[in-house]
Amino acid sequence: MISLKINNIPVYVEEGTTLLEAARSIGIKVPTLCHLKGISELGACRVCVVEVKGMNSLVAACEYPAREGMEVFTNTPRVLNSRKTTIELILSDHRKDCLSCERNTNCELQRLSHKYDCDSHRFAGAQREFVYDDSTDYLIRDNSKCILCRRCIAVCKRQQGVGVIGANERGFATHVACPFDMELAHTPCVGCGQCINVCPTGALQEKEEITRVQEALANPGKYVVVGYAPSVRAALAETFDMPVGTNCQGRINTALRYLGFDKVFDVNCSADFTIMEEAHELVSRIRNGGTLPMFTSCCPGWINHIQKNFPELLPNLSSCKSPQQMFGALIKHVFGKIEGIDPRDLFVVTVMPCTAKKGEKHRTFTDGFADVDAVITTRELSSLCKENGILLNELPDSEPDRPFGEYSGAGMIFGATGGVMEAALRTAVTILEPDARLAPLEFTEVRGLNGVKSAGYTVDGKQIKVAVVNGLNNVNAICEAVKRGESDYQFIEVMTCPGGCVMGGGQPIRATIVKHKAEIAAARANVLYAADKSMYTRRSHNNASLAKIYADHIGEPCGEQAHKLLHTHYQALPKYIKQ
């Protein structure tokens, strides 16, 4: 243990503790702007400076280690003045359109500026020329609001193992961008949006599709159908000041009706279809000597990654469309047929916890129609509700419409890491096990927040080995092992975001996510597991609406019609495109 004094208060901490953590341990919060524990610890922004007795210059508390006998002061006039000047310098070439900024009232720079009583126009000096990148379908980088904290760079490289952005040039010309200042669309960016969730300001945002949704809703010629992903119900409530871990699915159904959608369905239902197809595909590969291990294909970030980085593993990828794309295809070609509505007149909207889903919407077409027309994130649904004066916290619950609103608990848990695996096993093991009564219902080994989880099950006397990976940085080693033929898994689930979709790049932005990531991930996942547990139907193949739709419109899982509607194929893509 080390003993030191912070503001004359004795503090005892373990060796290796930073001054930031030491101060926090006695209830003193030193402000930070660039710090992202465990991921980005650069001391770049200088907002966390503190004074140490005997040292000439101020030190960055976020990276400076506590030492025996140290006397630290966190609130001297010199410290406070330095912080204020630093923030004012950051503000000097920051585009200050705060009133209309997406991050207004949820901006870390704004909060600090207010806290330190800053004059945002004190240094009205030179302005940088800014990069504005809107080349992708899912993300906008507006460097006029970038404060060069480098959190996005760190998350992209160290958490996700993607690394398509960096700090280019030096001095006043320094800016965050892709190599050679390429457009993001020409790089192996996977679209996960984790950079958005850690950006302290409005420099990174999803590409909004609210406008297109509103236009469709206002168009009397369009029949507008909406479905929302499992994870949306686990997080939307947070944006209406309800506690983390509040399930608001009943209110979402009501809110979507208030917004004017003609039908409110649930993507949990198409997740059940995904499991029917994926489980049958897995069983067929195991029985017929197909390519193994099979990778899941629900996560568009992962699809982008494998297409650009591991094209030789594309035969291992399940040919199933994602639940979102299956939802669109089912609405336009099955629901449309049932209701007698031309696919041309149907407008399919999905609400997703994910930015990569925006890029995925035009990935698959069925009979010439894009499966999905517009994708909005959980954040955008929150904005849409607020703009329309819908007070989510005061709404009554309601049920989704039928038939694409009926789902099993297996569809529900899709949003958490391990959820797709567990859902698939619930069905696959039932098919493989001659005595279905022996098939277990819960596969708890694949749950939890570890980056890589593996488990083995004996089914019909044979061993099935599975792995679950979340956080894209963890997937490369597994892919390399599969490439070398050294992997003995039969089935591998991959989710790009650490924690799975509940922690997706389209989920509510919380400054506290920086410190309490694991707790938030666990609370959101718990919403889904608790909902699953409370349900009578917990296996996808027991979903009655699904069984009827297969019988009336699709035929066998993995059959001809199923392939047309619910499957796709993937191509290798170049990593970088030189223009």
Binding site: G163, G166, N168, P179, M182
Partner: protein, 165 residues
């Protein structure tokens, strides 16, 4: 996209040499800087294709390589021409009007400092003091030094080197 728009003309021999060197360097910590210095010596500059090879062999991202390449002024994204023109923007030359000469050079060559013409004949660099302030303003072409130069002299000087080819 930033960087040279000239077609990459690296030879297979150069690539073999580079990959060999990168393999030697791979296991040493801090290999990126020496690797990039070697590559720049080999190719004369660091085009996209070369940076991709460095990233691949050293298992770092292209972003990291590019970040380093644009941080240090010793690295160039553009090749040097057969005739390397330097125009001094140091104090003595500047007060004697070297900016006007520099502007004229940019206008005639269609390139700016650090770049190279498409025919790879001329490259242009705005330099600091070259050490002969008495002759200000000074322009250099490879080892030839031109002193007390005026914007109207530039065209004839360029023509001389063009004739030599």
């Amino acid at each position: 996209m930033k960087g040279s728009t000239l077609p990459f003309d690296g030879t297979p021999e150069q690539e073999t040499k580079l990959r060999q060197k990168l393999n030697e360097l791979k296991s040493t910590p801090g290999a990126l800087m020496p690797a990039m210095q070697y590559a720049q010596e080999l190719y004369g500059y660091l085009p996209y294709e070369v940076q991709c090879i460095i990233a691949e062999e050293l298992d770092v991202t292209l972003s990291e390589v590019y970040g380093v390449a644009t941080f240090y002024s010793q690295f160039s994204l553009y090749p040097k021409g057969k005739y390397k023109i330097g125009i001094c923007l140091g104090t003595a030359c500047y007060v004697n009007g070297s900016q006007n000469v520099y502007d004229k050079l940019q206008q005639l060559l269609g390139i700016t400092s650090g770049e190279c013409t498409d025919d790879r004949l001329f490259s242009l660099d705005a330099t600091r003091c070259v050490g002969c302030c008495g002759m200000a303003p000074v322009m250099t072409v490879n080892d030839d030094v031109y002193g007390r130069i005026k914007p109207e002299d530039v065209e004839a000087i360029l023509a001389k080197y063009r004739e030599r080819g």
